[in-house]
Amino acid sequence: MDLVVRKADLVRELQFFQQIVERKNTIPILANVLIEATGDEMVLLATDLEVTLRSQTQAAVTRHGAVTLPAKKLYEIVRALPDGDVRLEADRNQQNVKVTGGQFSSKMPTLPREDFPTVTEPPDTPVVTLNRSALAQMIQKTQFAITGEDTRYYLNGALFVLKPTQMTLVATDGHRLALVTATREGQPTDDEKPILPRKALAELGRLLADGEGDIAFQRGENHLFFQVGNRLLMSRMIDGQFPAYEKVVPKGNDKHLEFERDRLISAVRRVSLLSNERSRALKFVVQAGTVEVTSSSPEFGEAHEPLAVDYSGPALTTCFNAQYVIDFLTAVESDVVSLDLKDEVSQALLKPVGVDGYDYTYVIMPMRV
């Protein structure tokens, strides 16, 4: 293999692979990116056996071939090179690759291309077009609600509900739930409800942020395929039953409050400084005309901050994890947000007010204190 590629192109592609390869993977070749030089392009591929990314970029290929190189080291090297051309040149047995740029030259050992896992190719199922910015919005507003390492594996991802005229993404950690629905046009589909792993969702979010234009989606037997520009993301689906999310979205919350988002997030951030370090409990003391946000912790003391609201209903006090409130307030952009309560112990409903193009629902279960 012998090829010359523009540094900027290679850096841009390689950076998308950094989160695909696993730092702590015990299979050495999974830390590598497979590079194939054919025609006038180089194709890059990396996988952790769950999530796979393939991309291509223009290159001047003088000798065809394929090698695998450590994705992180290669990225570090190429990123540090001076602007201009980078040359990747494998020796005869494809055992070493010379990476050169400017006056710099280096030689890296490869791992055999034959050892690289074979990846699932997209199936012959129909291709569905999805709106890029709508999908990006949906990911940004839900992915933080996915649990870290939950043994309920079906919560380690987000449910992607694709209907003929709309699409929905839902994520929950069992304490709070984020749900975004956007209308969609284009070809109608059968109802689909795959669960997309957290890692795939994060990678998809990064891919969507680079470039423009609709993306193509396909579902295989066990995998989902997202073609985003010249990059193809393939992810295994999480096999499991996502909880019945419709059931926990409250319907009859009749106590309606509206806040200026900036004002509320500042107050919550300040007051939460004195919340219990473990529970992060934050009280919302609701009375006619005001909501007082309060906190207390055995070590640090207590804090409160009143916010004026247009409210004349009955008084009540409810309690939330401060982080869950902050997560919502930082995910939305609207100037005004609403909080709808039923009573002190039922699910609370948070929504941005006055947004177009999507419907965002955020549900928090109050803490009992």
């Binding site: 015990t26 390492e149 043994t151 709070r176 739930l177 926990v248 473990r278 279960m365």
Partner: protein, 362 residues
């Protein structure tokens, strides 16, 4: 000055087998599994040890070293019965008996039921009682503390009786290699060696900061041991901190149903163990060794603690999702439970507080 005994049965499992089956006496015997598989030696008779057969050695290797080796499948119910017999003898004499294993215990005989002031006499009488009751021999170490008593019992085996009197401690430790110190494993030993600490005398006499360089936070403990100091008490009721089982399979497991079934069985065994002790476990740990010997553990902690077989099995099986068992052959699986308590709900301090109450999906 305390009087501590360490009593260690000689080649326990193998000796029980030889006692119960005259055909095995005088022959090299190993207790363990099939040599064509991956089993290891659980115990080797002294005849087998002469060929170099040792506990924990792969059985296949033991057979190569000792072609006439007679392999006996273990029968733990019999070993446990003999163990109970021995411990009842120990407990009749010593107020404090700390079991280390079925065949091994510390006894504090500073005060004893025989009102015998010489610990060596207590040891001698116990050895006789054990032999009369069970027909088996036990090696005894007598010393002012646990560390020295254990060293002493291993000094001369089988049927040994070694006393380290207080005035002989220094001489006894002088040339003792560092790897015999309690808490020094192969890694620490290697570090100590590279820093020039070969014997207890080195640890005792060289500057403490040099020792700290080699052994880190263990330095002061090792220094104490090298002087023969060890004030750990004999603890009759050491509460269990964990329990678990693991299994190396004759052939690698490659299918998820097989793996789930094994994990479920082991989790259910843990539940039985918990129920027998009326304990609850907050943490479940899964251990997986792949066919290339890389070994990982994955744990999950949750409140409330549980001892429900189905719940424990569920928590253990869920942990499989954080492993690569779908893609890599599995050589060994293990399930264990930790963070044990008497009640399902632990005190909130230091424990995980359940932050929000849960969304009512069900």
């Amino acid at each position: 000055m305390r009087k501590i005994l360490h009593l260690d049965m000689d080649a326990f499992y193998a000796s029980v087998e030889q006692r119960d089956n005259p055909a095995l006496r005088g022959h090299p015997v190993a207790v363990g599994g099939d040599p064509s598989g991956r089993s290891v030696v659980a115990a080797a008779s002294y005849e087998a040890r002469r060929f170099g057969v040792r506990s924990a050695m792969p059985m296949a290797r033991a057979v190569r070293m000792c072609p006439g080796l007679i392999i006996v499948r273990p029968d733990f119910s019999r070993y446990r019965a003999v163990s109970q017999q021995i411990f009842s003898l120990y407990r009749a004499v010593a107020p404090l008996v700390e079991p280390l294993a079925l065949d091994e215990a510390y006894l504090d005989v500073t005060h004893n039921a025989w009102e015998e002031s010489l610990a060596v006499t207590v040891a001698r009488r116990l050895k006789t009682e054990v032999r009369q009751a069970t027909g088996l021999t036990v090696s005894a170490g007598v010393a002012p503390n646990k560390f020295l008593a254990k060293l002493a019992s291993g000094w001369r085996k089988p049927d040994g009786l070694t006393v380290i009197a207080p005035e002989r401690v220094a001489a006894f430790l002088e040339r003792l290699p560092v790897e015999h110190l309690w808490g020094v494993g192969p890694r620490t030993a290697e570090r100590l060696h590279t820093h020039g600490f070969l014997t207890c005398a080195d640890i005792r006499d060289r500057p403490l900061d040099a020792l700290q360089q080699a052994a880190g936070h263990q330095a002061s403990w090792l220094r104490a041991l090298a002087h023969g100091h060890d004030d750990r008490s004999v603890q009759p009721h050491r509460p269990a901190k964990s329990s678990g089982a693991e299994c190396t399979y004759p052939a690698d497991l490659t299918t998820l149903p097989d793996i789930c079934r094994e994990v479920t069985t082991m989790a259910e065994e843990a539940a039985v163990w918990l129920a027998a002790r009326t304990l609850y476990a907050r943490t479940v740990t899964l251990k997986v060794r792949y066919n290339d010997f890389t070994t990982i553990t994955r744990s999950h902690s949750a409140t409330p603690a549980t001892r429900e077989p189905r719940e424990l099995a569920h928590r253990a099986v869920q942990l499989l999702d954080r492993t690569e068992v779908r893609h890599r052959p599995v050589r060994l699986l293990g399930v264990s439970v930790q963070n044990l308590s008497d009640t399902p709900f632990v005190a909130p301090r230091g424990a995980d507080v359940d932050t929000g109450d849960r969304l009512p999906f069900e």
